[in-house]
C-alpha cells in the first residue's frame, strides 16, 4: 500500500524553464509534507516543506503547493538550473499509533538540459 506516490519516475526540463514535480498521498493523517533532493552517492537533503494548514510555501526558486482536497502536492522550480538535476523525494509526516511517521514517495529523477 503506497501511501505516498510520485507517478513520474523521471522528468526532463530545459534550463531556464519551470520544473514541476508531483506527489499524491492517500492518508488524511498526514499533516506535514517535505521535499528532499538527492545527488548520486549522497544522502537526501531537505529542500522545502509545508504544513497542512497552508496551501503554498515559497523559498527562492522553490515553491511547494498543497491541495488537501485532492491529496496532492507539487514542487515548482523556476528557473530550472543544471545543478537542480537530482532525484527528488516527496515525504509526508503524521502521527500514527502515537508516533510521528514519515513516509516517502518513490522519487522522481529530474534532468535539466542546457
Amino acid at each position: 500500500d503506497q501511501q505516498v506516490k510520485q507517478n513520474s519516475p523521471s522528468l526532463s526540463v530545459q534550463e531556464g524553464r519551470i520544473s514541476i514535480l508531483n506527489c499524491d498521498y492517500t492518508n488524511s493523517m498526514f499533516d506535514y509534507f517535505l521535499w528532499y533532493k538527492k545527488y548520486p552517492a549522497e544522502g537526501p537533503t531537505f529542500l522545502i516543506s509545508i504544513s497542512s494548514i497552508k496551501d503554498k510555501n515559497e523559498d527562492g526558486r522553490f515553491t511547494v503547493f498543497l491541495n488537501k482536497s485532492a491529496k496532492h502536492l507539487s514542487l515548482h522550480i523556476v528557473p530550472s538550473q543544471p545543478g537542480d538535476s537530482a532525484v527528488y523525494f516527496c515525504a509526508a509526516s503524521g502521527v500514527h499509533q502515537g508516533a510521528q511517521k514519515l513516509v516517502f514517495g518513490q522519487g522522481t529523477r529530474l534532468t535539466i538540459n542546457p
Binding site: 549522497e42 537526501p44 537533503t45 531537505f46
Partner: protein, 111 residues
C-alpha cells in the same frame, strides 16, 4: 558540525554473514531512523527509535535488528545476510517534527 555519520560507506558480504551498520548523530535528536533505498522504490523504513531504549519496526524490518542504548547511536544489525538485503542504507535523525537529517548512506552488496 558532523550531523549524521554512517559507517561503513561500502561493504560486500557473503550470504549468511552478519554485520552491523553504525549510525551516530551529534544533534541531540530524539528520533532516529533506518531506511533502505532500492532502485525505483524510494525509501523504505526498516526500524525507528523515538528515544534511547525505545525502538519499533517500520515497513520492512525482517532480517534486521536495532538497538538504541544512547541518544547518539542507532546501529542496524544484519544477522544472516541474504541477497535481498543488497541495497543502500540511510540513517536519519530529527527532533519530533520537521526535517529529517540523513547520513551519506552505506552501500551493501550480498553475494
Amino acid at each position: 558540525n558532523a550531523g549524521v555519520t554512517q559507517t561503513p560507506k561500502f561493504r560486500i558480504l557473503k550470504i549468511g554473514q552478519s554485520m552491523t551498520l553504525q549510525c551516530a548523530q551529534d544533534m541531540n535528536h530524539n528520533y532516529m531512523y533506518w531506511y533502505r533505498q532500492d532502485p525505483g522504490m524510494g525509501l523504505k523504513l526498516i526500524y525507528y527509535s523515538v528515544g534511547a531504549g525505545i525502538t519499533d519496526k517500520g515497513e520492512v524490518p525482517n532480517g534486521y535488528n536495532v538497538s538504541r542504548s544512547t541518544t547518539e547511536d542507532f546501529p542496524l544489525r544484519l544477522e544472516l545476510a541474504a541477497p535481498s538485503q543488497t541495497s543502500v542504507y540511510f540513517c536519519a535523525s530529527r527532533i519530533v517534527t520537521g526535517e529529517l537529517f540523513f547520513g551519506e548512506g552505506s552501500r551493501l552488496t550480498v553475494l
